[in-house]
Structure formats: C-alpha cells, structure tokens
C-alpha cells in the first residue's frame, strides 16, 4: 500500500510562536519560540499542563491555524493550508451527525473524489477500529469511545503521512484504550507514518512513543525531551517503564514550579 521511497513525513517546527488576542485586548501567548524536528516515521508524544498550547501546535501543523512567527515544514515544504497528508484526530470526535458511521469514515475519500476506487478501505478501517456492524448507525447512537474510534478511522482512511492525535483516547475505558494504543502502534509501523500524540496520560506516552516532549506551562516551551529507547512491543510495567514514568512526572511537576509549593503541603 505504501511505496516507501516517496513516503516521508519529516516535520520541522522552527521558532514557532503563536499569540492570540485575549478577551480584554491582552495578547495571550500560547506558544513561545517552539522548535522541534521530527524524523519521518517517528512517534513523538507531547505532554504538558492544560492550556500550554498543545492543541494549538497540532492545529498549526495541520494547517488550520498559522503561526504568528516562525515556520512549520513538512518534508521541507512550508505548511500553509490543511491537507489530507496531515491527518488530525480532534480532541472532540466531531463526527458529521448527518452521516452514518460508514459515510463518516468515507468522508475523506468522497471529499477527494477517490471513493469509487477506494471503497473497500472504508470497511477495512471500520473493522480495524472494531466497529463492524455499526456501519449504518448514526453518531447520536454511538458512545463517546465509539465516536472517537470512528473519527480515528475517518482520518486513517486517507493514509496520511503524518498522523496528529489530540488526546484521542481520553474518552475510552482502560481496556479499549490499551487495545487502541496497540492498534495505533500497529498502523504506525505498517504505514510508516509519523505520529505526534498529545496526551495527559504519562503511561500512554511512555508505552507508545520514541520521543516524549514535555512542555512548560503557558506560554508553551520545550521543558525537556526524553528518548524512550525500548523496542516495541513494550511491557506496561517493567522497571525501565516505571523509571521513565517517574522521571517524566518529576519533570512535569517541575513544570508547575511557578505555583507556590507551600500550597501543596
């Protein structure tokens, strides 16, 4: 399915800054001088406190939002607009309520006018996310977890080079969550895509990614970058795992330093 030679997915984020107009005219700096290089086929997790600009960064990589300063490149080409080669799974599933599961998943193919040739992909990806039999269901009949899985399939059916995941598994129960983590890892390896995953779950970051980027509180900056050397499949609770986990939690706690420590005691 993938012709390896042309398929890349190197993302370079160069001195990106994003300032929003705040409520009362005060500018809100969401991201400050953010630079990061992501190799093709890498699996990078972003962790950081709420409001530090993780979603904003993903939206800019997706092309939905423009940096106030700096550039984002995919394989050397500047990102300006959304493109199906950069798939984004939103924090909310945002399924089209007027389309059933099958048609939601097929939406990208219809939009790109390749539905006829690629029809069979739709069923394949519905099966992949474990929703066979629900093809004709409408979104208001789905649970939150099912809806999020549909939105994942809807992005995957486009075979993106880069998969941007904004806390996609937050709504799932622990069991489905672990299952989906393994599915995403499988797809990542099979399709040789670059994945950037935003998550609040440190275990998830350690279990899944090669590189964990820890962001500081707003304005978001890189606090620390941690490499995870372990090969997949990984154990979910061996010593290395627990060690890394502790280190990240410490770093995140550090990230909270501006708040008075006495408060916690």
């Amino acid at each position: 399915m993938v012709s390896g030679s042309e398929r890349k997915g190197a993302i370079s984020i160069e001195h990106v800054r994003r300032v929003f107009d705040g409520e009362n005219g005060n500018p809100v700096v969401a991201l400050q001088d953010f630079s990061l290089n992501v190799e093709p086929g890498a699996f990078v997790s972003l962790v950081g406190p709420s409001g530090c600009g993780k979603s904003t960064l993903l939206r800019m990589i997706a092309g939905l939002d423009d940096p106030t300063a700096g550039v984002i490149r995919l394989d050397g080409k500047k990102v300006t607009d959304p493109d199906p080669e950069r798939g984004l799974v939103f924090q909310q599933p945002t399924l089209f309520p007027w389309l059933n599961v099958h048609d939601n998943v097929a939406a990208g193919l219809v939009a790109r006018k390749v539905y006829k040739e690629r029809k069979s992909d739709v069923d394949a990806f519905i099966r992949l996310v474990g929703l066979s039999g629900f093809e004709r269901s409408y979104p208001h009949h789905l649970s939150g977890g099912m809806a999020q899985r549909v939105s994942l399939a809807r992005v995957l059916v486009n075979h993106p080079k880069v998969l941007l995941l904004d806390e996609p598994l937050g709504a799932l129960d622990a069991f489905t969550r672990m299952q989906m983590q393994d599915e995403i890892l499988r797809i990542w390896k099979e399709e040789k895509i670059t994945v950037i995953l935003v998550t609040h779950d440190v275990d998830e970051a350690v279990y899944m990614s090669d590189t964990i980027v820890i962001l500081s509180p707003r304005p978001g900056r890189i606090q620390e970058i941690i490499q995870v050397p372990q090969k997949h499949p990984r154990a979910r609770n061996d010593e290395d795992f627990l060690h890394l986990r502790t280190r990240i939690l410490e770093s995140l706690h550090f990230a909270k330093a501006p708040e008075p420590l006495e408060y916690y005691i």
Partner: protein
C-alpha cells in the same frame, strides 16, 4: 400508550366499543332520512352517501383489523375522535336541515354542501388543478431562489453585506401587499401570482437557510478541510446538511405564507383557482359552495404539508426531535 390501554381491557368490550363510531354514523343516517326536513333534500342524496359510506368504511376497517393488528391499534386510538366527527355531522344536520336554527344562505346543511362534490365537481376539480399549478410553480421558484440566496448569504460575508439588508427590509412585507403593483407590473395575472407566491416563500426560506448555514459549528468545516474537502464539499456536503433542520423550518414557514398568498392572489386578481371559486360562489350567495371549497382547501393544504414532512423524515432521519406533524 394506546396499546397499553387496549391490552389491559378485555378484548370483548374493546370490540364492542370499536363499533361505536360506525353505530353513530348509522344513527346519523337514520336521523337524516327519517326526521322531517325544513328544506327539501337534494335529488342526489349526497349526505346519505357520506354517512353510509363512512359507516361501511369503518366496518371494513374493523373487519380488516382482525388479522392486521397494527391497523386495529391505529383505529382504536382514533375511534373516539371519529365518533366526535360523527356527532358533529349529526348536530350540523339537526341544526340546519332539521330544525333550521341557523340563518340561510350563510349556514347551509351538510346535504347541500356535500352535493357540491356531485353537482359541481368539474369546476371544483378544475379550480383545484389551477391552484395546485400556481402553488407548485411559485413555491418551486421561491423555494429554489430562497435556498440559493440563503446559501450564498450564509456562506459569503460579501454577499450577505449586499443581500442581507434587502432581505431584512423587503422580506417582512407580506407578499399580498404587493398585489396592486404585481398586477400591473406583470403581463398576466398568472405570472403576477407566481411572482407573489415566490416572494412569499423566498423570504422565510432565505432567512432560515442563511442563518442555519452561518450557525454551523466551525469544527465541522475544520474537520472537512483536514480530510481534503474543497469549497464545493464544504458548502454542499457540510454546510447544507448541517443547516438542513433550519432550512426545513424555512420551507415549512414558506408553505404557510404561500397558501395565504395563493388564496389572496386568486381572490383579488386571477380568474381561476380555489380562491377565485370561493369569491365567485360568495358573489352568487352560494355559501354551500364556499364550504365545499374550504373542505377541498383543507385536504389539499394538509396533504401538501404531510408530503413535506415525509420528505423531511427521509432526509433528516439522523436528527431527533424536530417539529412533529
């Protein structure tokens, strides 16, 4: 609800009560045929046929609902209402034909009214077809223009800048107020009426379409853009379906204004159609024809609304809890 009631009661008493509506129609028939009349009955016994026909129809339904459970449930739910209709017809007959309590010719008896469907069916049918043609053309043109202008206004700020104020200022004028101008500005009263009906439909459809589209959550557009959707996809496959519930309300309101405008236009300018028929019958003081025509209007208009709701149920099955009909 209705099914619970039927289940909890004995089937035997249920079968007896289900005969009440038919019995009432037969009682009405007896009263109509046996009591002395204040005015002679018509030669074609129209009301006799209506009462007997209703009774026979009800008996057939009861018979058919022995095997068809669904029909039986629907019927027993409606039975009390049908009984009330029968009582109303009996009272109408008594008050007019039998005891002449109401002044003539304004309040004719049912026999005279139903006779119109026999004696004047050609004229009624012709008028109905005229009205239906005018309504269909006007509604299609007005609805189509309303959809297109509403989509453009909801989608494009620039179009909204120019068209928005026009819609807001011209739109609220009832289309019937344009009748004098339309009648001189258009070559025929037929085209003038099409214009008036189209105008009446255009306003609610355009308003509801444009507000529906401009209220579509931006997140849907963002999803569509990241999936590779171009402008065409965003408008036709995201904005329009997302705004469909609102568009439907506009189409429904447009139906109401179009009925009103149709009748007004036909009463004032056009020389055909049901509105004209009412006027013409009134001119001859043939009020029984007016009532017959009102019955036709009720059936025609409620049928059209029913049709719109059937289409809506097909298209908006994904949505729960919209206006019920």
């Amino acid at each position: 609800m209705a099914t619970d009631v039927t289940k909890s009661r004995g089937t035997r008493s249920n079968r007896l009560t289900s005969l009440i509506p038919a019995a009432l129609f037969l009682a009405g028939l007896a009263i109509h045929r046996l009591l002395p009349n204040q005015e002679p009955l018509s030669k074609a016994p129209a009301f006799t046929f209506v009462l007997a026909g209703a009774a026979v129809l009800l008996l057939v339904i009861i018979f058919l609902s022995l095997p068809l459970k669904k029909l039986g449930q629907a019927y027993s739910y409606r039975a009390r209402f049908i009984s009330a209709v029968a009582v109303f017809l009996i009272l109408w007959d008594l008050v007019t034909q039998k005891f002449a309590l109401l002044p003539l010719p304004y309040f004719p008896g049912p026999d005279k009214v139903f006779l119109v469907f026999v004696s004047d069916w050609k004229m009624l049918l012709k008028s109905t077809l005229y009205s239906a043609r005018l309504l269909l053309l006007g509604y299609a043109i007005g609805g189509g223009l309303g959809l297109v202008s509403g989509i453009f206004m909801g989608w494009s700020k620039r179009v909204n800048y120019w068209l928005g104020p026009i819609l807001k200022i011209i739109g609220p004028i009832p289309a019937t107020a344009w009748i004098p101008i339309a009648l001189v500005a258009f070559p025929t009263s037929f085209t003038a009426s099409i214009f008036l009906i189209a105008l009446a439909v255009w306003f609610p459809v355009a308003v509801m379409t444009s507000s529906g589209i401009s209220n579509v959550q931006n997140a849907y557009f963002e999803v569509a853009r990241t999936l590779g959707g171009g402008p065409r996809y965003l408008v036709l496959r995201v904005a329009v379906p997302a705004a469909a519930p609102s568009i439907f309300i506009g189409l429904f309101m447009g139906l109401g204004t179009s009925f009103l405008t149709l009748i007004a236009a036909e009463m004032l300018g056009v020389k055909a159609g049901l509105g004209w028929y009412i006027n013409w019958a009134q001119g001859w003081a043939e009020f029984y024809k007016v009532y017959a025509c009102l019955i036709v209007l009720a059936l025609l208009f409620s049928g059209i609304i029913k049709l719109l709701f059937i289409v809506k149920d097909q298209l908006l099955s994904w949505q729960k809890g919209l206006i019920k009909w």
